[in-house]
């Protein structure tokens, strides 16, 4: 039985994959005597491909929901469509975030020195293909394959600066952590498959022995009831293992230790990719598994997620306090932000799943815009001052007033203070979910954490306007692509500040 494929639905990842192939071909076959530099010859098509994929996502969002790779009519059980790839609102929103951030990452990497250009953009586009496929996946196998397609190129991207010891170490750490987490996920998936007999998320949701089914079993015989009890235990274990594997990738405590070293060792555009694109896609995977497949077990995973969220934001913020290295600080801050993103899921037992996911998604949208903006400015400054210390930002307002103001805006947004209204609205949405869901202790932890966060974001922002240290070069930092990247991030964050309903109602 052959499946029919809806090529319109899979257009975004398809465009990215074909562009990746083209970029590699151009890099391989470009003669030395061609009039253009290799850098331009590969980076411009890569940027065009990402923009084309973004256009495809927008067009898909305007039309009907599409799905493809479904189980053929004749083989369906209980009428479940069991599609492996669905281009619905949720997946298109995440694809949009990923691709918009990708435009900025490509602009940032245009000035990257000392890396092989063709490989750089090829790997970047491969990772993006995975990141766009991931939120659209609706079965566990596609989910894992997409997650690996996102992860594998990033190891190589991290290590592409070949003679940099820190980059090599970072790549090795990322590789080991990622492989271990994938192994744990796969083990969990095998347990879930063993109990439910399927890998499609809708099939798992239908086949799960929920409490209702246990009662039905118990009506039969004592043995049947005992078996049902045991099976529930196996599903719980499988769920926890799958969750553990996925939260490794989004650096949630207790699986966060890799983040600072890897962010610091990797080239800055790759750190931005890990902190925004990889994180958004990882969260999409967590949302899909928890809400599409295991909605029936919300009473089990919601308290667990609430505790993880509280731990994540606290550990991330406390460790960020001590950082003096710009990228390291952003790494810990992005660990802390993961905690805020997870927090609404902690009340999933009390609230409707769709509102909970909408709150988290809104936070991710705003977080992506402001965080990628901060990374753009860090890229600009790190090129002139490779030490990348917070004190290197002293006097930035004197030499680059625009860059300093933009950085101050992003930092204020990350802290969640006016005039950075985007960050404030994001926090309010998350707070509202937690408070309405009657999780008072989590709301208190979040409030305390927001105050801790204020300190280090403000300490950094204050440095921008402090007088420069003597001896620091006072040259103006200029780079056209980075300037465009900063402008894109400022505009998007600004739009979210003035019209937050764009982010907040995106899933409705």
């Amino acid at each position: 039985m052959i499946q029919s494929i809806d090529y319109a639905a899979i257009a975004p990842p398809l465009i990215l994959a074909i562009t990746a192939g083209l970029v590699l071909l151009v890099d391989l076959l470009l003669p030395k005597s061609a009039g253009i530099s290799r850098r331009t010859a590969v980076s411009v098509p890569a940027l065009a491909g990402v923009i084309a994929a973004l256009v495809a996502v927008v067009l898909l969002a305007l039309g009907e929901d599409r799905s493809t790779f479904c189980v053929p009519e004749g083989l369906r059980v209980e009428g479940l469509a069991s599609c492996s790839y669905v281009a619905d609102n949720l997946s298109l929103v995440f694809a949009g975030v990923v691709l918009a951030a990708a435009v900025v990452v490509i602009l940032l990497s245009m000035g990257e020195r000392g890396v092989p250009q063709g490989e750089w953009y090829f790997l970047l586009l491969c990772a993006l293909t995975g990141a766009v496929t991931l939120p659209a996946s609706r079965d566990l196998i596609t989910l894992v394959v997409a997650l690996e397609l996102l992860s594998l190129p990033v190891f190589a991207l991290t290590a592409l600066k070949r003679h940099d010891g820190k980059a090599g170490e970072a790549a090795l750490k990322l590789f080991l952590v990622s492989v271990v987490s994938t192994a744990i996920t796969l083990f969990g998936i095998s347990l879930i498959y063993g109990v439910t007999g399927g890998v499609h998320l809708d099939w798992i949701a239908a086949a799960l022995p929920t409490d209702r089914n246990v009662v039905v079993f118990a009506g039969g015989s004592p043995e049947a009831a005992a078996i049902a009890e045991r099976i529930l235990g196996v599903v719980d274990l499988g769920l926890v293992m799958v969750l553990a594997g996925f939260i490794f990738k989004i650096a949630v405590v207790p699986f966060h230790f890799w983040a600072p070293d890897v962010y610091q060792g990797a080239p800055i555009p790759v750190a931005a990719l890990l902190s925004v694109i990889s994180k958004a896609a990882g969260f999409a995977a967590v949302f899909l598994v928890l809400t599409k497949a295991f909605a029936g077990l919300a009473h089990l995973w919601a308290p667990l997620v609430a505790v993880l969220a509280a731990l994540t934001m606290t550990v991330g913020n406390l460790l960020a306090l001590r950082q003096r290295h710009a990228v390291r600080l952003l790494a810990w801050s992005s660990v802390a932000q993961s905690g805020y993103i997870l927090a609404p899921l902690g009340v999933a037992g009390e609230r409707e799943l769709s509102t909970v996911v909408a709150a988290s998604t809104a936070y991710i949208l705003i977080y992506a815009a402001m965080n990628i903006g901060a990374f753009s400015i860090v890229t600009l400054v790190a090129r002139a001052r490779p030490r990348d210390h917070l004190d290197d930002y002293r006097g930035l307002y004197g030499t680059n007033p625009v860059a300093a103001l933009a950085m101050a805006f992003f930092l204020v947004c990350l802290a969640g203070l006016p005039p950075g209204l985007a960050g404030l609205f994001a926090k309010v949405v998350v707070f509202r979910e937690v408070v309405v869901g009657d999780l008072g202790w989590l709301a208190v932890v979040m409030a305390v954490n927001t105050v801790i966060g204020l300190y280090y974001y403000m300490a950094w922002a204050a440095r921008l306007f402090a007088p420069a240290e003597p001896g620091v070069s006072r040259t103006r930092l200029v780079s056209a692509p980075v300037g465009v990247a900063v402008a894109v991030a400022v505009v998007i964050t600004g739009v979210f500040s003035f019209a937050p309903q764009l982010a907040l109602s995106v899933l409705n």
């Binding site: 039985m1 052959i2 590699l24 076959l29």
Partner: protein
């Protein structure tokens, strides 16, 4: 010897028997055989020929690239075999044929890359 964990007892017994046979054979050999060492006899045994060089040998690091290339082809064979058994069946047809060549095209890109980067020449 009954129950779920009882079945593991058989495995444990087998392991014990294996160890006893192995240790026993070596011990009897040690007790019975005459030991009269000479320089010749203490040489590493290498099919009867005198060994050349050290036991610590290095392998050319460049072989790893060929291993990679081999894996590329070994993996696509995994997909080719099941495809080859069904692609001519009713309901499949031209689309199936084209799809496989698209897949092979992507794989071939890897070979093209290796060739252009000079991996295939040994110097």
């Amino acid at each position: 010897m009954d129950g779920y964990f009882g079945s593991y007892a058989v495995v444990a017994v087998l392991i014990v028997i294996g160890v006893v046979i192995y240790v026993g054979a070596l011990t009897i050999n040690r007790l019975l055989s005459p030991i009269r060492p000479s320089a010749e006899k203490l040489l590493t045994y290498e099919c009867g020929v005198d060994p050349v060089g050290e036991g610590w040998a290095q392998t050319q690091v460049r072989y790893y690239v060929f291993t990679y290339l081999y894996v590329v082809f070994a993996v696509d064979a995994v997909f080719l075999f099941p495809w080859a058994t069904v692609f001519a069946d009713p309901g499949f047809g031209l689309t199936t044929l084209v799809e496989m060549f698209v897949f092979l095209g992507f794989i071939a890109l890897g070979i093209l890359y290796a060739w252009r980067k000079g991996v295939l020449s040994w110097t």
